[in-house]
C-alpha cells in the first residue's frame, strides 16, 4: 500500500530530473564553441553545404524551437510506437539514417555487457568486502583493500588488452572480439541479448558461444568496478558490525554466519545497493572503453565510431540514451530499496 504510493511519487519525481538532464545535454552540445555543422566541415564548408546540413538537422530554426523539437522528439510516444524507436534526429553521415534506430539497435549489446559485469562486480565486491570487514586490520583485510585500490587505478582498456593477450593470444581459450564466435549464426533477434535469445531459441551451442565471448569483456569491466564495490561493502559492513544489535545477537549465541549475513550484511545491504546504483553511471563510462577494446558492438563503440565522423546528432542521441539509462536504473534501485526496507514501506 505505502509502497505503491512511494513508487508513484518517486516515478513522478524522476520527470523533472529527466527534463533537467535532457536540457543539460542540449545546452552542453550548444554551449560548446563553434556549431556542429562548422565542426563537421572543419570550419571550411561552402555556404550551400552548411545551409543544407543545417536544414537537415533543423539547426536553421531558432534555438527555442530546436529545444522544443528535441524534447518532443524524445517524448513523442506516437513516433516511438510507429517506428519502434524515439525520434533522435537524423545522422549527419551521408546515409542520413535515423539516429534513434541506430541507437536502439546497438543498445541491447551494452545492456547485456552492463548486466553481466554488474553481476560479476557485485559478487566479487560484496564477498571480498564482507570478508575484509570481518577480518578488520588483519593481513587479509589489507590484501583485499589493496586489490580494491589497485583495480580502481587500472585503466579499463589496459586490463582488457592484458586479458586479450593472455586468454586470447597465449592461451587461445577465449575469443577476443565481437559478440559471438564468427562461425556461429546470431540467435534470432528477440531481446537483442544474445544469451537470452539463444536460451529462447533453445540452442545450447549459441548460448555457450555467446557466454564464452561475453566472459572477457564483462570480467574486465566487472573487476575494474569490483574495487569500488569492495570499498563500499567494507565501509558499510564495518559501520554495521559496530552496532549494538550485532553484539546482542552474538551474546545470544547465534552462529557467526547468521550474525554476519542475517544481521550485518542484511542491514548493510541497502546502503550498498543504493551506492552501487550510483556507480552504474561509472560502469557505463567504463563500458565505452571496454566495448572499444573488445569491439563489442554496443552504444560505446557507436559513440566512438560516430566521433570519427563528427556526427553531432548521433553523439547527442547516444549521450541522451546513456542519461535515460542511468536515471531509469537509479529509479529502479530506489524502488528496490523501498521494497526491501520495512522502515520505508510502513
Amino acid at each position: 500500500m505505502g509502497l505503491r504510493v512511494y513508487i508513484i511519487t518517486r516515478t513522478l519525481l524522476t520527470i523533472p530530473t529527466l527534463l533537467l538532464l535532457l536540457t543539460m545535454v542540449f545546452l552542453v552540445m550548444r554551449v560548446l564553441p563553434g556549431d556542429p555543422v562548422d565542426l563537421h566541415f572543419e570550419r571550411k564548408g561552402t555556404p550551400e553545404q552548411i545551409a543544407q546540413m543545417r536544414q537537415i538537422l533543423g539547426l536553421d530554426k531558432p534555438i527555442w524551437n530546436q529545444y522544443v523539437d528535441y524534447l518532443w522528439g524524445i517524448v513523442d510516444i506516437g513516433y516511438l510506437l510507429q517506428h519502434g524507436y524515439p525520434n533522435l534526429g537524423k545522422s549527419m553521415q551521408v546515409t542520413s539514417q535515423d539516429v534513434g534506430r541506430q541507437i536502439f539497435s546497438v543498445f541491447p549489446a551494452t545492456l547485456e555487457l552492463a548486466i553481466y559485469s554488474m553481476i560479476i562486480a557485485s559478487v566479487i565486491g560484496i564477498l571480498l568486502g564482507t570478508v575484509s570487514s570481518k577480518s578488520y586490520n588483519s593481513l587479509l583485510d589489507h590484501v583485499i583493500r589493496g586489490f580494491g585500490t589497485v583495480t580502481y587505478a587500472i585503466p579499463v582498456f589496459f586490463l582488457g588488452i592484458l586479458f586479450q593477450l593472455i586468454f586470447g593470444v597465449y592461451l587461445h581459450w577465449l575469443p577476443v572480439s565481437l559478440r559471438i564466435n564468427p562461425n556461429v549464426e546470431f540467435p534470432a533477434h528477440v531481446t537483442g541479448l544474445f544469451t537470452i535469445d539463444s536460451i529462447l531459441e533453445g540452442n545450447i551451442v549459441k548460448l555457450f558461444e555467446s557466454l564464452k565471448t561475453l566472459l572477457l569483456p564483462s570480467l574486465t569491466l566487472g573487476i575494474i568496478l569490483s574495487g569500488i564495490f569492495i570499498r563500499l561493502t567494507r565501509m558499510n559492513m564495518l559501520e554495521t558490525l559496530r552496532l549494538d544489535f550485532i553484539t546482542a545477537a552474538r551474546a545470544r549465541g547465534l552462529r557467526e554466519s547468521t550474525v554476519t549475513y542475517g544481521y550485518a550484511l542484511r542491514n548493510a545491504f541497502l546502503p550498498i545497493l543504493t551506492m552501487m546504483g550510483l556507480q552504474f553511471a561509472m560502469l557505463l563510462g567504463g563500458a565505452v572503453l571496454t566495448e572499444t577494446t573488445f569491439e563489442w558492438p554496443g552504444l560505446g563503440s557507436y559513440i566512438v565510431g560516430r566521433i570519427n565522423y563528427r556526427d553531432y546528432t548521433a553523439i547527442q542521441g547516444a549521450v541522451v540514451m546513456f542519461g535515460l539509462f542511468v536515471t531509469l536504473v537509479s529509479l529502479v534501485v530506489d524502488i528496490l530499496y523501498a521494497y526491501f526496507d520495512p522502515r520505508i514501506r510502513l
Binding site: 572543419e42 559478487v123 570481518k134 577480518s135 563503440s301 557507436y302 565522423y309
Partner: protein, 607 residues
C-alpha cells in the same frame, strides 16, 4: 577470524572460474581435434574386437564376459559412428561456407549510381555482372574477357562501341537479361549524376564520355561516345557499369540500405555468382553480410561459385582481426591485417599469407595556396628530402614498392621520372632552400598532416618518418597534425593542410586513371592556379593520350607528362602498396592481381 562459510565461498568461486575456463579450453580443443579423436576411437574399437575374438577362443570362460564385451564394442562402434557423423557434418559445413573477417565496411550503398568505396564495389562484384571483366591474373590490368557480353567491337574512330549480349542470362525471377536492361542501367546512372555528385559515375565522367546508348536488338547494345576513349573497356568493366534490375532500381532515385530486407537494399541485377541473402547493420556498422550461391548464375555449369556461402564479419581494428584469423575464428582475413602483423604471420604455420601486386598509390601533396608551397623549388626540395626506400623497408617490408612515377609498376608507361631528385638527396634540398633564404637559423616551418583513424595504414608512423627525414636536412621544422579520416577529407576539400599524404585507389587499370592526379581538382591544391603553363601543357598531353588508341604514342605522352611533373613536383609519388590476404592453410583459389579485386567465387576450401 573469518569462518568456514566465507572461506568455502571464496574457494568455490575460484574453482568455478578455473573449471569453467578449463572446460572451455577442452571443448574447443575437442571440437578442433574431432577427426583425430575419431581415428583414436576406431583403432580402439579394432583392438577391442581382436580382444573379444581371442577371448571367445577361451571356451572355459563364460560367454557372459564375451556378451559384455560385445555390448561394449557395440556402444563404442555406435559412439564412433556418431562422432564420424558430427565430423562429416562439420566438415561439410566448413566446406560450403567461407567466413571472411574484414575491417572494411560498405561505406554507404550498393547502388552503382552512387557507391564509390572498395568494399561496396567488392560486394557488387560478387552479386552483379558487367559486360566485360578483367581476366583474373592479368598483369597490366588491361586484358579483358567476355562476361555478360560475349563479343564487342569499336568503330575505327573509336566513337561507337557495340556489345553482343550473352543469351539465357536470367535474373532470379526468371526474366532474361536483354539489351534494354543494359541501356536502362547506363541511362539511370547518368541521369542520377546531378543528385549524386560524389558517386562513381560522376567521378568517372560517364556523362562526358558516353553520349548515348541504343538498343540495336534483343542481344545487341550500342554506345555512342563523345570522343574516342582509350580506357573504354576499363570503364565498362568497372563496378559502376554493373547491370541493374529495373524492378529494384527505380528511375531517378538512389537505392539505400533497408533494414531486414537484403533484396531491396540494392538495385543490382543478381546475375553474379552470388546473391545478397543478408545485410545486417547495427548502429552505424555492418555486422553481417551473407552471400549465397546464385542458382541462376550463367557460369554455374563450369562449377562456379566453388564455395556455396560467404559470410563477412566486420572488425573495427586490424589487430583484433589478426587475432581472430590466428585463433581460427575466421577462415580468411582480407583487408586489412596491419602490415606489421603480416610479417610475423608469414612465419606462422597455422595460417597462409597471400601477397599480390599493388595498385594503390600514395603520394605527398602540397597546398599551393599556402606560401611558399606555390614555389616549385620548395616542393622539389621536400621531394628530394624524402627517402622512399627507408619508408618502404621499415614500414612495409615486402608489402610495398617505392615508385618514382605516378603510374604503378607493371602498368603501361610506368617510368622513373622522379629518380633524378633521388632519395634523401639533402644536398639538393638544402641548395634549393638556400636559394629562398632558408637556413639552419631561418628554418622552413610547416604543418605535416596525417590521417589518425586508421583509414590509411601506419599513417602516423609514416608521418613520424617524413618529419624525421625533412628535419634531417637541418633547414626545416615540421609540426605533425593528426586528423581522423572524415576531418582529413574535409580538410583536403577545404585546402587547409600545408603538406599531407594521400592515397589513390584506381577505378580501372589504365595510366589514364593515374596521370591526372598531378592536377586532380578534388585535391584542391590549386596547381592550375599557381603554375598555369605547366598545367596547360600536361592537360593537353593527357587529353591527347586519352583520345587515342595508339599504345606507343600514349606511352610517350604519359612519359612527357611525368617529366614535367618531376620539375613541378605538384604532387610527389611515394610508393605503391601491395595487396595481401591471410587465410587458413586449407583455403585456396585466391587470385590477387593488379585489379585488387577479390573474386570470391574462385575460392574453395580443401576438404
Amino acid at each position: 577470524m573469518w569462518n568456514k562459510v566465507e572461506l568455502s565461498i571464496v574457494v568455490l568461486v575460484l574453482i568455478g572460474i578455473i573449471v569453467s575456463s578449463s572446460t572451455m579450453y577442452y571443448t574447443t580443443t575437442v571440437m578442433s581435434n574431432l577427426s583425430t579423436l575419431t581415428s583414436d576411437v576406431s583403432t580402439l574399437t579394432e583392438n577391442v574386437l581382436n580382444l573379444t575374438s581371442s577371448v571367445r577362443d577361451l571356451a572355459t570362460i563364460t560367454r557372459v564376459l564375451a556378451e559384455a564385451m560385445g555390448a561394449f564394442n557395440e556402444t563404442l562402434a555406435d559412439l564412433e559412428a556418431r562422432l564420424a557423423a558430427i565430423e562429416a557434418s562439420l566438415a561439410a559445413k566448413a566446406k560450403e561456407t567461407l567466413i571472411v573477417g574484414t575491417t572494411d565496411a560498405v561505406e554507404n550503398t550498393l547502388d552503382p549510381a552512387q557507391a564509390y568505396d572498395y568494399f561496396g564495389w567488392c560486394i557488387m562484384q560478387q552479386i552483379s555482372g558487367t559486360l566485360v571483366s578483367v581476366t583474373p591474373g592479368s598483369i597490366s590490368g588491361t586484358d579483358f574477357q567476355p562476361e555478360l557480353a560475349t563479343s564487342w567491337n569499336a568503330s575505327t574512330d573509336g566513337k561507337i562501341w557495340d556489345f553482343t549480349l550473352r543469351q539465357n542470362v536470367r535474373f532470379p525471377d526468371g526474366t532474361e537479361l536483354n539489351a534494354t536492361h543494359v541501356k536502362y542501367s547506363f541511362d539511370r546512372s547518368i541521369a542520377l549524376i546531378p543528385s549524386t555528385p560524389d558517386g562513381a559515375p560522376a567521378n568517372l565522367y560517364y556523362d562526358q564520355i558516353i553520349n548515348r546508348t541504343e538498343v540495336l536488338s534483343k542481344y545487341k547494345v550500342r554506345f555512342f561516345l563523345n570522343n574516342a576513349y582509350g580506357p573504354m573497356l576499363g570503364i565498362i568493366s568497372c563496378r559502376a557499369s554493373a547491370i541493374v534490375d529495373p524492378t529494384y532500381a527505380p528511375w531517378m532515385t538512389q537505392v539505400n540500405y533497408t533494414a531486414d530486407h537484403a533484396r531491396s537494399s540494392t538495385p543490382l541485377a543478381f546475375v553474379g555468382p552470388y546473391y545478397l541473402s543478408k545485410w545486417e547493420r547495427v548502429g552505424d556498422r555492418d555486422i553481417e553480410i551473407r552471400l549465397d550461391e546464385n542458382p541462376y548464375y550463367w557460369n554455374a555449369t563450369s562449377g562456379y561459385p566453388k564455395t556455396k556461402t560467404i559470410i563477412f564479419r566486420f572488425y573495427r581494428d586490424a589487430s583484433t582481426l589478426r587475432l581472430a584469423v590466428e585463433a581460427g575464428d575466421i577462415d580468411m582475413a582480407f583487408r586489412h591485417i596491419s602490415a606489421l602483423d603480416v610479417l610475423s604471420l608469414q612465419t606462422n604455420t597455422n595460417v597462409k599469407v597471400w601477397i599480390g601486386p599493388g595498385a594503390p598509390m600514395f603520394f605527398m601533396c602540397f597546398q599551393e595556396d599556402h606560401a611558399p608551397f606555390n614555389d616549385s623549388r620548395v616542393r622539389m626540395a621536400l621531394a628530394a628530402a624524402i627517402n622512399r626506400t627507408a619508408v618502404v623497408t621499415t614500414l612495409f617490408p615486402g608489402l610495398a614498392n617505392a615508385t618514382y612515377s605516378m603510374i604503378p609498376p607493371g602498368m603501361l608507361a610506368h617510368g622513373d621520372a622522379f629518380k633524378e631528385l633521388g632519395d634523401a638527396n639533402l644536398t639538393l634540398t638544402t641548395s634549393l632552400l638556400a636559394q629562398l633564404g632558408y637556413s639552419s637559423t631561418n628554418k622552413l616551418k610547416f604543418d605535416l598532416w596525417y590521417e589518425s583513424s586508421g583509414h590509411y595504414q601506419l599513417s602516423a608512423e609514416q608521418a613520424a618518418l617524413y618529419k624525421a627525414q625533412f628535419e634531417a636536412s637541418g633547414v626545416m621544422e615540421v609540426t605533425l597534425k593528426p586528423a581522423d579520416w572524415p576531418s582529413y577529407r574535409t580538410n583536403r576539400n577545404n585546402g587547409i593542410m600545408d603538406v599531407f599524404v594521400y592515397g589513390w585507389y584506381p577505378d580501372y587499370f589504365d595510366p589514364d586513371d593515374y596521370a591526372f592526379l598531378y592536377w586532380a581538382s578534388w585535391l584542391n591544391l590549386h596547381y592550375d592556379v599557381w603554375s598555369p603553363t605547366a598545367y596547360a601543357q600536361q592537360i593537353a598531353l593527357y587529353d591527347q593520350a586519352r583520345y587515342t588508341t595508339n599504345t606507343t604514342l600514349r606511352i610517350q605522352l604519359y612519359n612527357q607528362i611525368e617529366d614535367i611533373a618531376a620539375d613541378q613536383c605538384s604532387i610527389v609519388p611515394l610508393f605503391v602498396t601491395k595487396l595481401w590476404a591471410v587465410t587458413k592453410p586449407k583455403v585456396s583459389g585466391l587470385v590477387l592481381d593488379i585489379t585488387q579485386d577479390m573474386r570470391y567465387w574462385l575460392i574453395y576450401i580443401a576438404g
